[in-house]
Each structure stands twice: as C-alpha cells, then as structure tokens.
C-alpha cells in the first residue's frame, strides 16, 4: 500500500531520517516508536504525502509521490485516514458536521451516509456530543472525533500520530480498542507512539509489528518490548 525505498528526509541541515525502506502491507497493524524528536511525525507525513522525500522514492497505492499533482494528493488522502495528536477541526461547525466533512469535500453526501454518521458517532461514543462544537470537547472526545472523521470515508489505511498523547490510560485503552476493531475489519493501521504500555497492551491482542526510529534509521524492533 505504502512503499518506501531508500527514503531520506531533511528539513535543511542534517538528515532527520535516512535510508529507510519499508513496505506497509495491507491489513497489518504497525506501531512506530522512538524518542521524541526522532522523526515519527515526519515519517507519517511522508506516508500521507504531506512531505516529499529529499532522497529515495515513496509510492502510495502504487503512485510515486513525486509525480502526484496537488489534486492527486487530495484524492489519495481520501483513502488514508489521519489522526493527529493535536487534532484540528473546523471550530464553528458541530462535531457531526466535522466528522461528515470528508464526505462533503469529496462530493459523496447521501442519505445513506447520514445514517452512517449516526452509527459512527455511536461507535466512538459521541452520540450525545454530536451537536457540540470542537472547542467544547475534552481531549479524549477530540481524539475520538478525529478518529471518526478519519474513517468515515472508509479508508484503506489509518495513520495515527500519538493518538493517546493527551488522554488518560482508560481513554487510551478505549481508543486502542477502536483501532484494533478497525484492523480486524481489514484496515491497515499505523500508530506512532512512545507509550510502551499501550504497545504491550496491543501486542497481547493483535500481531502488531513494531517499527523503531533510532539513529535516523527505521528498524523492525524485536519481540522484546
């Protein structure tokens, strides 16, 4: 789905990430770990085409990122759900409208999907908060709303950047359950996190592959976590 070939990235100055090769396979569950500032967010951005590698090649759904037009990138993002640590919303629109926004943006708004939104809101436990505005939500609610927005288009891949960074353990567990459930439905999931207990918890429930960024390189971590 997403293939990296000898990819390096630098923001100017030295390389932040170098010589990374990886093929993210369909239906797999990945963790991406590493110390703060190691480049986890940069790696995710490379994966959804927000950044173009300075060296090497990235193919997303078989298309080279470099050869994609801005509109190609936009269409590609409809197949990749992204959840940020500090998820942003359109603050003057209700939670429900925010979650439905990807549908409106891609011109897919139909009544059937209206029912879908209700189901989705119930799934992430935000039915009661549907009419609230994003600034009124708690950290955990924001994360769940972002997750709902990320998956409303039924994407093939879900990328989550520290989804549990701002929430307590109980909420982390809940979010993890949602992501595991998505994975069981056949979605590829990649979670960037430095929360080792979350990774352990996941590994007991799913065959998660753990990628680690250290010394600017991507390594497949062993089972010894």
């Amino acid at each position: 789905m997403i293939e990296l070939e000898n990819v390096a990235y630098s923001y100017g100055g030295g390389e932040l990430l170098s010589d990374m090769s990886l093929s993210i396979s369909s239906g797999a569950f990945y963790f991406l770990t590493g110390p703060s500032g190691a480049g986890k967010t940069t790696f995710l951005k490379l994966c959804y085409g927000a950044l173009v590698p300075t060296v090497g090649q990235i193919r997303i759904f078989g298309n080279d990122v470099r050869s994609m037009s801005r509109d190609d990138v936009a269409v590609m993002r409809r197949r990749i759900g992204v959840v940020h640590q500090d998820c942003q919303f359109i603050d003057h629109m209700s939670v429900q409208d925010n979650i439905a926004l990807p549908l409106a943006v891609s011109g897919n708004k139909t009544l059937a999907e209206d029912a879908n939104i209700k189901e989705l809101l119930a799934w992430v436990g935000l039915t009661k908060r549907a009419k609230a505005f994003p600034p009124e939500l708690s950290g955990g609610e924001r994360q769940r709303a972002a997750l709902a927005r990320a998956i409303i288009m039924s994407p093939d891949v879900i990328l989550a950047d520290e989804p549990t960074g701002n929430v307590d353990w109980e909420m982390s567990e809940r979010l993890l359950q949602l992501l595991l459930e998505l994975n069981r439905m056949g979605k590829t999931v990649l979670i960037a996190s430095h929360d080792l207990s979350l990774i352990r918890s996941a590994k007991s429930q799913v065959q998660a592959r753990v990628l680690r960024i250290s010394n600017r390189r991507l390594q497949l971590a062993g089972a010894n976590l």
Partner: protein, 300 residues
Amino acid sequence: MKAVLVFFEGLRADGHRDRVVPSTGFTATLTTLTAGAMAFLIVFALALSFAASRLSDRWADALQGTATIRISAPADQMNIQVERVLAILSTTQGVDAAKALTVEEQQALLEPWFGPDIPLSNLPIPRLIEITQTDDGFDAQGLRLRLSAEAPGAVLDDHMRWRKPLVQAAQRLTWLGALAIVIIAMTSAAMVMLAARAALAANAQVITVLRLIGANDAYIVAAFVRRFASRAFIGAVIGVVAGAVVVLFLPAETANASILTGLRFQGADWLWLAIVPPALACVAFVATQLAAQRVLGDLS
C-alpha cells in the same frame, strides 16, 4: 475545458462548503464597505464620462455644418453689404441656406451678457449671417477671397477654431472618466485581494483541516471565492444605489444652460449602473481566486 470548470467551481452553491469558512468577521464587513465605496465612486466616474460624451457630441453637432459671417460696416453701408454677402452666398456651392439674423435675434443672443435693456440700435454691433452648409461643405478659402473683394467688412468664421478644442476637451474628459473607472476597478481588486489574503491567513486552520481530509484546491478556493464575490456584489449594490440617489439630486439639464449638460444619467445610461455590481463581483471573484491559489500553492 476542465480547467475552466474548475475555475468557475466557486460560483456553484454548496450549502456545506459555504459554511466551511466562518461567515462573520472584520474582513467581511470591510470587503462589503470597500465594494460599496468603490461602486459609489464608479457611479460618479460613469456620470462624468457620460456627461462629457454628451457634451462633445452636442458641441460637435451644434457647430458642425454651420458657419457665421460677421459684417462690420458703417451704419449706412450695413444693409448694402448684408445684401451683397447674401447674394454671394446664394451662388456659392456648398451653402444650403443663409440667413441674416434680425436685430431682435441678435439682442437675444447678447442678452445673457449685457442684460435685456441694452439699446442695441445705438451701438455699432456687427450683423451676423448664419450659414447652413450642405453635407459636402463649402470652400472656406475661396469664399473668404470673394468676400474680401466684394464686401470688405465681412469676416467668415467657420467655427473650426472653437469646435476642435472644445470637442477635444470633452472627449478627453470622457476618457478620463473611463480611466478613473479602470483605476477604481483595479484598486477594488487590490483591496479584495488583501482582504482575501487576510481571511485566508485567519482561516489557516480551516485550510489545513480541509487539505488533510482530502479537499482539493478547487473546493478550498471555492469556499472563499463565493464569500468574497457575494460580499463585493452586496456592497456594490448598496454603493450603486447610494450613488444613483446622489446623482438624482444633482442639478438637471435646463434649457438655459444648454451649452453645459446635466451630470444626471439620461435614458439608457441608467442601465449601465446595473452592470456595476456584477462587474465588481467578477473583479472580487478573480482577485480572491488569485490570492487563494497563491496561498494554497505554498501549502503541502
């Protein structure tokens, strides 16, 4: 063709998209106000242009095809010379009609300058003969020669001297009005562009979110463009109405001042005002489009 459709995407109504950008804000009011002020100015530039254009037409028409012969002679010779000149004119090719003005007519002409009580008969006023030319006109040089030989007191004035600079001045005024409209339109475009850039900067988060969830540029641009075009339109309507009301209260043309012309619009000229709001909306549309595309170009 696709590029054209994408360009005009912003004109399509889309309830959801129209709400993506917050509807209120300082720039919103400013854009409407600016468009209103600009439309107000355009109304006056238009009024000036039309008035000048009417003036130049009128002067050109009134003075074209006519000429005057002025006869200054001692009182006892006056009538003889007038007769002689009229005789010459009747045999001159290109002269359609010639008519000596009566004393009363001359008095009416002088009245605005000297008042009604001037005893004209006591003054050595030259007599005037009004000539109407045929379409081909006459040979002014030849006529002058004949006149100087047979009626030494007669001077031909074919009005060219007056007409050219007057008509030219009026035409220049027309162009000046048109130029003012172009400058106002360009200023409006610049102001809308600045407002659009401010709005785009203020809504950076909206743009980031839209981009993240897979909105293409056309969608994002359209969300802003429709806003600004409609604000400019509303502002322009207000400005035009205000301008039109003010123009209505300007002094209208009167018979006495026929050499000048009223600044009021006449007849079909009013229709031009209807074009101003859509035109300003178009200017805002293009300006916002350009501003938005520039901002989006910098975004990954």
